[in-house]
Amino acid sequence: MRANRALWASLLVLGLAIAAFHLRQNGLEASFLPPCLFHKTTGLHCVGCGMTRATHAALNGRFTEAFFHNPLGVVLLPVALFAISLEIFAWVRGRSGGPRLRMGRRGFWSLVSLILVFWVLRNIPFWPFTILAPGS
């Protein structure tokens, strides 16, 4: 256990909690998050587009709505946050050999392709691909 690392980790969690609470209470209008640059400049949806709306919906308990704002992100984000928590926990304890979420090489490449395919598909402007695009 390293005291300064534990402090950093706690600050990070606190910051995230404050940001999440702010987003939950005040909604998107009061959001301090800028609009997506990629969407602004190209008019296309990026992989992460809809994640602010999805997080806001999920924080207010509207999970179905959250899912349709960004189906891939809504599934991947909790997994990623869980995996990162494991790593941060190991880092605070000063051990590198802790439990870790690892996927094989196959899993890795499937994930990379999935993300890229998702990115392309959600920009196809007719049904059923429009389901993948963030709702208004």
């Binding site: 301090f32 990629f38 992460g48 992100g73 984000l77 590198s96 994930l111």
Partner: protein, 160 residues
């Protein structure tokens, strides 16, 4: 590789491996002192570890040999992949910069499995670098936006 060692009941370090070896050879640190580096589960007496096995006497009689890299081969733990961090920055910073991070992250384990330790470490470092850039630019952009919103609100409130 940074080591920590105990002396007179207090913890010292971090020091590099050659430094600690020199300290043990000179007798400044007892050869049965407890030592630890990141990745070890517990503090261990120095003479029980391959790196510090030669005591002060042995070092005097045998020529000093450079220790073999302890990172060695597929048996060692593979370096961090930063895959999940890369995914989070890609999802939230809206940056195409997250994609190279994910690509490098995905190379780490494969290279390590093939025994290419250096390549694997390299991919790990690059994944980390792209994550940090993406994260930094994202945060910078949010801060800038926030500033503009605040300035804009103040300006319109005062009638400009």
């Amino acid at each position: 590789m940074n080591w920590y060692y105990s002396k007179d009941g207090a913890q010292h370090g971090p020091v590099t491996q050659p430094d600690l070896q020199a300290k043990i050879r000179s007798g400044e640190v007892a050869h049965d002192a407890l030592v630890w580096r990141e990745g070890m589960t517990d503090w261990t007496a120095a003479h029980q570890l391959a790196e510090f096995a030669q005591g002060p006497l042995a070092a005097g009689s045998a020529p000093y040999t450079t220790p073999v890299s302890q990172l060695g081969g597929a048996a060692g733990a593979s370096p961090p992949t930063y895959l999940w961090q890369a995914i989070v920055v890609t999802l939230f910073c809206c940056m195409p910069l997250g994609i190279p991070a994910i690509v490098f992250a995905s190379k780490v384990d494969g290279l390590h499995a093939r025994g290419d330790v250096q390549g694997s470490l390299d991919a790990s470092r690059k994944a980390k670098m792209w994550c940090l850039w993406s994260f930094g630019i994202g945060i910078g952009f949010i801060a800038l936006y926030f500033l503009l919103v605040v300035v804009g609100a103040t300006a319109s409130a005062s009638g400009y």
